[in-house]
Structures are given as structure tokens and as C-alpha cells.
Symmetry: C2
Subunit: 442 residues, 2 copies
């Protein structure tokens, strides 16, 4: 399983089907190209590409079942001929896309589909939904990784993501962005992502005393126990943890660490660090979890918190400060005609495109050009590559670890000024001369 089960092609906005019926009725089956891109977002200077694997999987096996066609027939909205067409429909088109782990910027196509018009149209809802979520969470997670400044962070968002699918995508996208692991066991099983977890307050309160709870846990997990110390009183919790940690030592075991989950983390972490150090447990790590996101992580670290690893949950898992991307999928070419929409404030660039990235001598990204596929930009690499041709995947998809390495390399090459959380410098993205000229003509 590379993604939660796709619930089938009825996971679609009705208008995709009514439009398809219109195209079918008029025999409009010319190849169309659609661009998937994100409009500028005041809270995000860059985006991280993710979600492509699921899209390729779903497009490869896209079809309507007899039961789905029967249900559509019973709605009375569609002709028998059109439903006959749908029942044999497969995705036979081409897809150009940025690899997962690439960094991209507003208005740059992250994916372009070229397929007979109806095919290209009816995958819109799923494409935006799935790629939008994966990019949204990878982008948010990248910001957290940046803020953590080298400290380990783990995805703890599962219980508060917006549903099951989002919980899976949060684990995968955050791992791409550099998280060390996830609390999500199914994500561990599905994608071989390291899983981690400590204990909840209910565990502590289930025992007669905090010390009893710690001891029970230490028996079972002699090398990986992390005690949650804030159920009653954090400093007393730290002293109890230290006492159990020392008894573990006598048995040859090793307390991995303690976890803080409430209160003033900067002060508490320093006090707890001292308690552990004075007890001879300087190897024991301090974990913290409590509504962290890039902003609070940055403050923790700037404030001198003695925290070794962070559990980052809800606010990452829902991208709380920017909970959606304005990702759109627009027709840019139909047959031999370049097309665009000119509604107020919602411009689209017509034409089949390529994204060119220039690199400075030090390896840093040095500006992008959105151009036509035939353009050439001196010394630039092209970011869109074929991933499907005639409905079949091209080559093999990278593994999740390769995607993670690709992102890590890219992220190093994006200069600090573009990553700032406030007043980030806008990354330079130009439109090529030929692409600009093409807009005049349509």
C-alpha cells in the first residue's frame, strides 16, 4: 500500500462529470493539457512537492466499476452513451511532474497532465485533493525542521489530523521533510518510517503512583523508556524519573529520557536537566511535546531550552497557520490552441510549460524561470520530467528514503533568507520571453 485506498472515481465533484458529459456530447476529445500549481500564499514563501506516488498509482488503475456506473445511471442525469463511455474509460495520458522532495514556488506548475479532454478533466478533484494535502503538510513540516535547527523532531499529529488519510499523509510528508519518525504505527508499517512513542497521562494515573508507572514501563522497555513527568508536578516527576533511572542503571538498563508536555518548557527543561545531571543521568534525554510548530520551536531554541527532541503534533498535522494551499488545476492548452482564464485576480499562464532552476557557483538556488517546454535557459536544470506516458508509469518511482534525501539536498541549497518565517525574501521566479509572448496571442 502506498497510500490509503482510493475510494474510486466517484470521489469527484459532480461538475467534473456534467462537464465530461458536455464534452462527450460534442465529441470534444482533443488532447488537453492542464497545469497544477499553487497561487501565492502570504504565509508560505516556498512549497515542498509531495504526493506524486499516490497520484501515479491511482491514475494507473483509474476506472469506473459496474456498480458505480449503475449508480450514476440511477441518478437520471446522464445518457446511456456517456455512461458507456465512462465504463470503458482508462487514463491513457501523459504526466510531467516535479519529483517528490523538490522545492517549488507560487505559479510554478508542479505537475502537468496531457490527455484526451474528458480524462484530463475528471481527475481534477482527486489530483488537487491529494497533491494539495501532501504538499501542504510537507511544506509545513519543512518549516518545523528548519526551526528545529538540527534537533530531532517526530510527528505526533495522528490523533488531530483532519481524518485518517491526513494522518497517513502527515507521517509520510513530514518524513520527507526530515522528521526523524512518527507515532503512527500504520505509517511505520506502510512506508518503513521509524515509529516512536512514550506514554500518556492515563498510563501514569492508572498506577498507584507515578513511580509505580515508571517502574512498570522500565521493566518492559529497558532501553527505550521515556517517562512522562508532568502528570502531577513536573519537577517531582523528574526526581521520580531520576530515582527509577538509577535503579535501572543498577540492573544494567538505560533510561532513554523523560518527556515534558505542559508548562513553561524553557524553564522546566533547564530545571529537569539539572535534576537528571545531578542524579548522574546526563545521558538521559529530554523530549518535549506541547503544541509545537515552527514558531514555538524557534522560540524554544532561541530561549535556551534544554530539549533534545521535539514531538510535533496538531499544528504541523493540520498546517494550522495556513490550513490549505490555493492549489488549482487549469486548462492551458486544448488541441492546438493555448487557453487561459482571465478572471479578476486569478490569472493563468497558457501553454505547456517547463520550470528551469538556476544554481549559483556555491550550489545555492539562484532563481527560476517558468518557460515553454522548448525553451532553454543557460546552466539551468529542468524540474518537470515525464512520470507517465500513455497512461503507464515511466521508469521506477524513487523510494521514500531517496525522496527524503532529495529534499534534504534541496533544502540546504535554498538560502536562509527565503526560509524566514517573517518577511521572507521572495524567491525570484521569472516568466520566459517566449512564454510571455504566447500569452499575448490567446
Amino acid at each position: 500500500m502506498s497510500s490509503p485506498e482510493f475510494p474510486g472515481p466517484l470521489f469527484i465533484d459532480l461538475y467534473e462529470l456534467t462537464m465530461a458529459a458536455g464534452y462527450f456530447d460534442r465529441h470534444m476529445d482533443a488532447p488537453a493539457t492542464f497545469s497544477l500549481f499553487v497561487r501565492p500564499n502570504p504565509r508560505r514563501g516556498y512549497f515542498v512537492a509531495a504526493g506524486l506516488q499516490a497520484v501515479v498509482d491511482v491514475l494507473t488503475r483509474f476506472h469506473f466499476s459496474d456498480e458505480e456506473i449503475d449508480w450514476l445511471a440511477r441518478t437520471g442525469r446522464f445518457s446511456r452513451e456517456f455512461l458507456g463511455h465512462l465504463s470503458t474509460l482508462r487514463f491513457t495520458g501523459d504526466v510531467m511532474a516535479m519529483a517528490e522532495g523538490e522545492i517549488f514556488f507560487p505559479d510554478e506548475p508542479v505537475l502537468e497532465v496531457t490527455a484526451p479532454l474528458i480524462q484530463a478533466q475528471i481527475i481534477e478533484t482527486y489530483l488537487i485533493n491529494t497533491m494539495g494535502l501532501a504538499c501542504l503538510l510537507a511544506t509545513k513540516a519543512a518549516r518545523c525542521v528548519h526551526a528545529a535547527a538540527g534537533r530531532s523532531i517526530v510527528d505526533f499529529s495522528l490523533r488531530r489530523t483532519q481524518g485518517i488519510h491526513a494522518g497517513m499523509v502527515a507521517a509520510r510528508s513530514s518524513y520527507i521533510a526530515g522528521f526523524a519518525g512518527t507515532s503512527n504505527v500504520l505509517a511505520g508499517k506502510t512506508w518503513d518510517i521509524p515509529i516512536s512513542g512514550t506514554m500518556a497521562h492515563s498510563f501514569v494515573t492508572a498506577f498507584e503512583s507515578e513511580t509505580h508507572a515508571f517502574e512498570a514501563y522500565a521493566t518492559l522497555f529497558p532501553d527505550s523508556a521515556v517517562f512522562l513527568i508532568d502528570t502531577y508536578d513536573t519537577l517531582q516527576g523528574a526526581r521520580n524519573a531520576a530515582a527509577v533511572g538509577n535503579r535501572m542503571k543498577q540492573k544494567g538498563d538505560t533510561l532513554l529520557g523523560v518527556r515534558l508536555d505542559s508548562g513553561d518548557m524553557i524553564t522546566l527543561s533547564r530545571q529537569v536537566r539539572r535534576i537528571l545531571d545531578e542524579a548522574g543521568l546526563s545521558h538521559a534525554k529530554i523530549f518535549a511535546s506541547s503544541g509545537f510548530d515552527e514558531y514555538t520551536l524557534e522560540r524554544m531554541i532561541a530561549g535556551g531550552a534544554r530539549i533534545d527532541a521535539f514531538g510535533v503534533g496538531t499544528r504541523m498535522g493540520v498546517s494550522a497557520d495556513a490550513p490549505y494551499l490555493d492549489m488549482v488545476y487549469k486548462m492551458v492548452r486544448l488541441g492546438d490552441r493555448n487557453v487561459r482564464k482571465v478572471s479578476e485576480g486569478k490569472m493563468t499562464l497558457a501553454g505547456e510549460k517547463q520550470v528551469f532552476r538556476k544554481t549559483a557557483v556555491n550550489g545555492h538556488f539562484d532563481g527560476d524561470v517558468i518557460g515553454l517546454r522548448g525553451d532553454s535557459v543557460d546552466g539551468a536544470v529542468t524540474l518537470l520530467a515525464p512520470v507517465m506516458e500513455k497512461g503507464r508509469p515511466v521508469g521506477t518511482m524513487p523510494t521514500l528514503k531517496e525522496i527524503r534525501a532529495c529534499f534534504a539536498d534541496n533544502f540546504k541549497r535554498l538560502e536562509y533568507d527565503y526560509k524566514r518565517f517573517e518577511d521572507a525574501k521572495p524567491y525570484p521566479v521569472q516568466v520566459s520571453e517566449r512564454l510571455a509572448e504566447l500569452q499575448e496571442g490567446c
Copy 2:
């Protein structure tokens, strides 16, 4: 299908399993009661209960497959005895819950589980994830319904929800809250929710001209066509729509309406209304969609927009201004001992509870009391009722239409002052004397 497929019990935070291993090792299998509730949220004065049907379905068939147990064994984290226990585990507990469509307030339990400790613990991740999302979106949708002040609103959020599951829950929860329908075809099939849709800009640009696009659509949908008129120029689009609408009339067909999707909706809607009226199409409705939420809906209506129906999308579908609920699941009783957590700022009320709602003579809600199950409050109704006993559903669950009617009735009975978007009056929720006393003792 009542909900997207549950991906199995490995959809869980690792710590649920490590804690369960701890309980198993210490033979701690006393019945535990956990309370599911939402902590106060500055942006939400009330919440709408939803998601219970999916929870009952999943708990009824909760079990680990052999393949899941094998995978857990291969992690090397768990003893053979514990995995043997998991492999035979079923949910055999009791669940008390508020019905879907009930309105609830911060700190009030919306659900309580009583089950052997391990069972009660390991359903935590799924319960919070699923109930949290359903309540989040039902609450947001209720605010939109309130703002729309009787005008029709439809869920258009599918492409921008945080994933597939969220797209389904958005349709169901918003229908509970009073939306007229959804663009989500699968939700229509799954729950018999009315589906609706118009056309996209790509449809318009796929034709030689806007008028050709409208005509093609009108041929296929002679009674249900809504033309999108902002692709090029909204007022010219309205005139083109009117011309096609009049040709439809000559054939005995009826233009259902036009849709605005960009620009100053208040001004445009008035201008478009005039164009349609002057063309003799006063029956044609004006639909609008463009980043609506309760705040913009309220402004539209206060500003005199001539809009008959709203498509409400992204901001509802992700609850953009408050994208998560601080929903928690806390142990409140274990065996014969009431327990609670006292971490800073995160108080829990110990004990098995009931929520009592008082009603004024005019039928309006008149304050709630959180009490013990044995409490009685004069003239109040109790909101928590048994929905599962010994692991089996109690009685039959209400239909979605019944849930929707239940919410509509409740919502009328919640006074306007509690529904305001700014400075809403806090709804009075007391703790009963006996419940307060019980806190002292633990």
C-alpha cells in the same frame, strides 16, 4: 459504507500499544472509563456532535488481523504473550454518547467509554481523530448555516479538504448542519445526500466562445443548467447567459441560474440580477462561490448581495479559522477509583459523568450541568445515552436525515447571543455539587 474504510487497528499512536503492553504485563485489566471532550476554544462558543456512526461501526468490528500481529512481532518491541492477547482482542465495552446533531460545550463529555483498560486505551487515537474531525466540520458548517440566514448553501469543499476522509466527512457533517447538498458524488452515493454542481472555467475555455459553452451545457441539462459567467468578463458573461437562457425558453427549457466566482460579489450580483431581470429571466437564480465562510457570508448578506445560493468550499472544509479542536480522551475512573490529571492548565474532571440540559419555557436552552450519572437536575434532559453495551450497538442508529432534523431543532433552541461570531455570550455550564465534591477526594 457508512464511512471511509477504517485502515485497521495499526492506525494508532505507538504509545497506545506500549502502554497496553505495560498494563498487560501487570495484569491491569480493571474496567476503565475515559471521557472524550473538547477544551475551550476562543473561536468557538459551541460545538456540534458528529461522527458517532463511524465510531460504533469500527468498535463493533475492531480486531487485529494475523498479518498485523505478525508485523508487530517483527518490530521486536512486544512479547509473544502480549501479541497473543492482542490477536484475540475485541471491543467488549460500553459507550455512552451524545447523539449526532446535539450541540455541546467545552469540557462536556460528548462520549464516555467504559471497558477493560487495554481496550479503552487503544481506541484513543482513532476516536479522537474521527470524532474530532466530524465535530470540527459540523461546527464550522453550522456557523456557515447561521450566517447564510436561510439562504441555501452547498458544500463545494471536496478538492481542498485535508484528504479523502476529510472530503467525505465534510459532506456528511455539513449536511447534518443544514447544508442543502454537496458537490461530492461519492457522498451522494454513500449517504443519499443531494449532489449539485455547475461547470468550471476549463469548460468555458474549452469552447470557441462562452456562448458556445453555455449552449452545449444547456442542451444536456435543460432544467438544471447553471452557467459560470466570470471566465472572461462577468457582466458580458451575464448577457451571454441571458441570451442563451432566452433561447432555452423558446424551446420550453428553463435556465436554472448563473454562477459568480470572482470579483466584488455584492456589486456584481446586483448588476447581474438586473441583467437577468431585464432579459425576462427573473426566475434564474444567482449562485456564488469564492472563498466563502461564515464571516464573508455574513458580510454578503448584510451588504445586500442578490445571491440566492452559496457554494461554500475550502474555508468550511478545513475549518480554516480554527482548523482543529482540542479534543482529548482522558481516563476518569479505573476500577473503583476516580482519577484525574492535574497538569498545568489541563484539568480533567474525574468520575463517570452525565450532561444535563435545562430548557426555558420558550424551548430555548437554559444552561447545562455536568454531573455524575446518578445526579438528577430538575426539569433537565440527559444528553449522554448508551450506544454500545458489552461491545454491541444498542438499538438502531438514527438516519442521516433524522440527525439533520435533530440538529435543526437544537440549533433553533440555542439563542442568537451564543451564536455570534465575535464576542459570543458564554453558554452557562455548571459542575454539579456531587461532581465537584468527588474531585476533592482524588
